[in-house]
């Protein structure tokens, strides 16, 4: 009655390359850092690595640089995804995102026409309007999730990746910046804002004409470029390159 069904389900989820770590042999795995805070040399690289699943703590042994998507043998969490030329690709995409971001913030976003009156808005008008109405917290939440978080993500990617690409050495405080980039990621909600625009268009459709501006289109493109830039980022590669002990 107390038996879990973990063993029976291993084959259903596991890629043949991923194996659970046998209790005894794990102590020989080269990737386990046994120095505990003594800031020794980084472990020598091998073609296999042992990784604890972030969702269930199971030790998985997986091939490094595999081209497959590797899942945890026990709970199915994503452990590894193939990201070739990660640094070049995410830098190029982040640059494209930055250009689109600048366009989105400098041109009219939506224009409303009603009985000869034109009401033009930019991306920030809503934020300013909420602030004027005294809803400061709400205004800050919208500013953070739709403007600041994506901006911090893009600038953070530049700050961490550019020195790695051209000098091979990490920038000062690159670890702190990269941690910020990863922590702020769930708070960037531009794609949800886009759905919000669609709903608002339908809601106002019966009372006025709404014309989307240049910004609205560049914003739509920005969302896809931003997602692509972020999914090409390879955290495990970057943590290896940013290692404090190097």
């Amino acid at each position: 009655m107390k038996k879990s069904n973990d063993t029976s389900e291993i084959d259903a989820v596991a890629h043949p390359d991923v194996t659970a770590v046998p209790t005894l042999s794990c102590h020989n795995a080269s990737d386990v850092d046994r120095s505990n805070n003594s800031f020794s040399q980084p472990p020598r690289s091998s073609s296999w690595e042992v990784m604890a699943c972030p969702d269930c703590d199971m030790l998985n042994r997986l091939p490094k640089e595999s081209k497959a998507i590797l899942l945890c043998v026990r709970c199915g969490a994503l452990l590894h995804r193939y990201r070739p030329n990660s640094i070049d690709r995410s830098l190029a995409l982040a640059l494209a995102a930055f250009i689109l971001f600048t366009i989105s913030n400098s041109f009219p976003f939506l224009t409303m026409k009603k009985s000869g009156i034109f009401q033009e808005t930019t991306l920030l008008t809503g934020v300013q309007e909420l602030w004027k109405q005294g809803l400061y917290e709400l205004s800050l939440i919208v500013l953070l999730t739709c403007v600041l978080a994506p901006l911090i993500q893009m600038l953070g990617i530049f700050y961490v990746l550019i020195p790695l690409k051209w000098t091979g050495r990490p920038a000062p405080c690159a670890i702190r910046i990269f941690r910020l980039v990863q922590e702020i990621a769930p708070w960037g909600m531009m794609e949800i804002f886009l759905i919000g625009i669609l709903v608002a268009l339908v809601k106002l459709g019966h009372m006025a004409t709404i014309v989307p501006g240049v910004s609205a289109f560049s914003f739509g493109a920005l969302i896809f470029v931003m997602i692509a830039a972020f999914s090409n980022l390879d955290p495990s590669l970057l943590w290896e390159r940013l290692d404090l002990r190097r």
């Binding site: 879990s4 120095s35 604890a52 969702d55 009401q119 709903v199 809601k203």
Partner: protein, 215 residues
């Protein structure tokens, strides 16, 4: 636990929350910092369940005014109309745009409620040491973590309406008091999902297995 396999904790290892480096811990009570990235180490998220319960409670309390109070106040030619989240959904449904009604209902009413219920269920299942379908419960957790952000849709609709509809005496839209409560519910449930540690689901199963004679 299957005796052939092991978790990091069973072997006295910890994996860094930020960079995933596996580290041997000699003193699990004060593990210190990760040698690779400098993050504070912990085997499980500290005080996970206490934090989740506190945040769930706060979210439930705020969920009530978020749904009762008006979220938009529309003035058309001097006539004021107050809309709650639900009356907005009903308006869309009656005017024939049922897709939009469905989007708003799912994002603003169903998702926050379902997310709270799932977090309550997961926390209770850990506290009552459930061994039932741990893999599905972990998947449920991952789902909760990823869908919560979609509830922000209504806040963005409001932001856009407030910016666009400023036609003086003809029509203006103002944000109602429910908006800040609703945004708080979304933000707090995101923190609650982040505070929950899915490894607790599996710890129960390993401890049960370890307590039994092998074979």
């Amino acid at each position: 636990m299957n005796p052939r396999t092991a978790t990091a904790r069973q072997l006295g290892l910890m994996s860094c929350h930020d960079c995933r480096l596996l580290i041997e811990t000699r003193n699990p009570q004060a593990p210190g910092r990760c040698p690779r990235c400098g993050a504070h180490l912990h085997s499980r998220k500290p005080n996970s369940l206490t934090r989740v319960w506190a945040l769930i409670l706060a979210a439930i309390i705020l969920y009530i005014p978020a749904n009762i109070l008006p979220i938009t106040i529309t003035s058309t030619l001097g006539v004021k109309q107050k809309d709650t989240i639900l009356s907005g959904v009903i308006f869309f449904f009656q005017t024939g745009s049922w897709e939009i009604a469905a989007v708003i209902f799912i994002a603003s009413v169903f998702v926050p409620f379902a997310k709270l219920m799932i977090l309550i269920y997961l926390s209770l299942s850990v506290q009552f040491r459930s061994t039932w379908r741990p893999k599905d419960r972990t998947a449920l957790y991952r789902l909760t973590e990823s869908v919560g952000r979609w509830s922000m849709v209504d806040i963005y609709v409001l932001t856009i309406l407030v910016a666009l509809v400023k036609l003086g005496a003809i029509a203006t839209i103002e944000a109602g008091p429910a908006a800040i409560y609703f945004a708080s519910v979304v933000v707090i449930t995101m923190f609650a999902a982040e505070s929950f540690d899915p490894r607790l689901i599996w710890d129960v199963i390993e401890e049960d297995y370890d307590g039994q004679p092998s074979g």
